[in-house]
């Protein structure tokens, strides 16, 4: 057990007024120091490649989705936020999502979908803002989710780099 002896107060401290003045001096000094407030909507939160925002679907350069609706993200999602229905298309890759919905009220931004995706189609973007007046409005469909792959390039490069590093480690 540690016995902490209370410090004996000096007369000036016991008089209290000098200590009050000292405190007032400190707070007055703080008033003129630079503010640390971020003016949020005008000053956005800085995003880095590590930023794990809302998942988005990557589009190829010809405007087609990379997603083949394999359902890996759907089953990996711990919050059951993703719902996918596929359908057949004429391209050599025979399948595409007909419905791809992420319920952002459920999404916990864990990034499991990104990890699970075998087609490099879903990526955690740096988009984080989420607001709507209805619950339905926060269930995003394909139109709201798709982004050109170039818009997600920073994250794509980062994830690939990390994965490569992991592969090199595991092979040695």
């Amino acid at each position: 057990m540690v016995i902490v002896k209370r410090k004996e107060l000096t007369l000036a401290e016991r008089l209290y007024i000098p200590e009050v003045l000292r405190g007032l001096r400190i707070t007055l000094g703080k008033m003129f120091q630079p503010k640390s407030t971020r003016q949020y909507p005008e000053e956005p939160i800085p995003s880095t490649e590590v930023t794990r925002g809302q998942p988005r679907l990557a589009e190829n350069e010809d405007g087609t989705l990379r997603c083949v609706s394999c359902g890996m993200c759907e089953i990996a999602c711990p919050a059951y936020a993703i719902t996918i229905d596929g359908h057949e298309i004429d391209r050599p890759i025979e399948r595409e999502p007909e419905r791809f919905e992420i319920d952002f009220l459920r999404c916990i931004l864990c990034g499991f979908c990104e990890e699970a995706c075998p087609k490099e189609a879903i990526w955690m973007s740096d988009e984080l803002e989420l607001a709507d007046t209805t619950r339905k409005g926060l269930i995003y469909g394909i139109e709201k989710l798709k982004r050109p792959a170039s818009a997600l390039q920073k994250r794509i490069d980062y994830v690939k780099r990390i994965n490569d590093r992991w592969r090199t480690f595991s092979s040695t």
Binding site: I17, V20, G23, L24, I26, T27, L28, K30, M31, F32, Q33, P34, K35, S36, T37, Q39
Partner: protein
């Protein structure tokens, strides 16, 4: 007739100024607290957030009026009115400026009324304000509110004595209860040859006691036991909402302004401009506003610096330190005056 009209105009101007100053004080409170905490404070409504008090007012009006079950309804509604009214009434005798003009041989001064018992009036009417707190706390039918009201009454009794005794020291020195006379005495001459002839230089102990007691009187930090958010939720106004809540706050800020004005009047020469006896009346008013503004700032500054006292510390300080000190001060003042 003209005198009546002049009084009416003065009343409107001074009350208007008081209420808008109270509104500004709420903004200042938020701004100062923000700056002290490295924040920016309200800055969205109007330039630099200047219209924030207006937005707050609109919000308060649209909030739900609520009377808790089991509350004494008429007392519950009356309490915030008493609180605001007392603070606003005591402003009547504060001299804000000197002689403005002369109409039909009547001298018009810049104060609503020049009572010969001005100091007594302020103490008496200002002291009523605490009834609002006590009644509000008691009528709410809530244990938190009741505790808040109880503490407020105990605090009131403990700190009204040193407050009045320190005023008494000034009164004894000035030989008058009329606040304008007290200011006039401080206007001419110098203290110790080079300082303005202000009571603060003759009565430093009374000044310190008075200022600390005003904090307790207005329920401000570090003596805000009537509210005491961390223990009593909101103290006496836990159950209040909407405009009734706003009235309590208006009362609190008005009381702060009155107390700051009183401090200036009693100890800092009121509307007198230092080293310039013949200053025009509007400069006098400006000087008064500047001095009062400093004390208002002190109220905010102290609030965001000091933590709240413990209740027993408050009582110890009041009865064991302030009361003997103020009695001692009266004794010394009496000796000095009689000599």
């Amino acid at each position: 007739m003209t005198v009546l009209l002049a009084t009416f105009i003065k009343a409107v101007v001074i009350f208007g100024a008081l209420v808008s100053a109270a509104g500004l004080a709420t903004l200042a409170e938020r701004k100062v607290s923000a700056w002290i905490q490295h924040r920016l404070g309200p800055n969205r409504v109007g330039p630099f957030g200047a219209l924030q008090p207006l937005a707050d007012g609109v919000k308060f009006i649209f909030k739900e009026e609520f009377v808790p079950e089991g509350a004494t309804r008429w007392l519950f509604i009356l309490a915030p009115a008493i609180s605001a009214m007392a603070a606003m009434m005591s402003v009547a005798v504060i001299p804000f400026g000197g002689l403005v003009t002369e109409i039909d041989g009547t001298e018009i001064y810049f104060s609503i009324a020049d009572l010969d018992i001005g100091a007594l009036w302020v103490v008496a009417i200002g002291g009523l304000g605490i009834y609002g707190v006590i009644l509000g706390g008691w009528a709410s039918n809530s244990k938190y509110s009741l505790y808040g009201g109880l503490r407020a009454s105990a605090q009131m009794i403990s700190y009204e004595l040193p407050l009045i005794l320190s005023i008494l020291a000034v009164v004894a020195m000035s030989d008058t209860l009329n606040l304008r006379e007290i200011v006039n005495i401080q206007t001419s001459g110098t203290a110790f040859g080079f300082l303005p002839n202000w009571n603060i230089f003759y009565q430093p102990l009374a000044f310190v006691l008075f200022v600390v007691c005003t904090f307790a009187e207005t329920n401000r930090h570090p003596f805000d036991f009537a509210e005491c958010e961390s223990e009593l939720v909101g103290g006496f106004h836990t159950e209040y909402s909407s405009m009734k809540f706003a009235l309590f706050f208006l009362g609190e800020y008005c009381a702060m302004i009155v107390m700051a004005s009183l401090t200036v009047t009693l100890f800092l020469g009121g509307f007198s401009v230092p080293y310039w006896e013949e200053a025009p009346w509007y400069l006098g008013v400006a000087a008064f506003v500047a001095k009062t503004a400093f004390f208002m700032f002190l109220f905010l500054w102290v609030r965001w610096t000091l933590p709240r006292f413990r209740y027993d510390q408050l009582m110890n300080l009041g009865w064991k330190v302030f009361l003997p000190l103020s009695l001692l001060n009266i004794l010394l003042t009496g000796l000095a005056v009689s000599l």
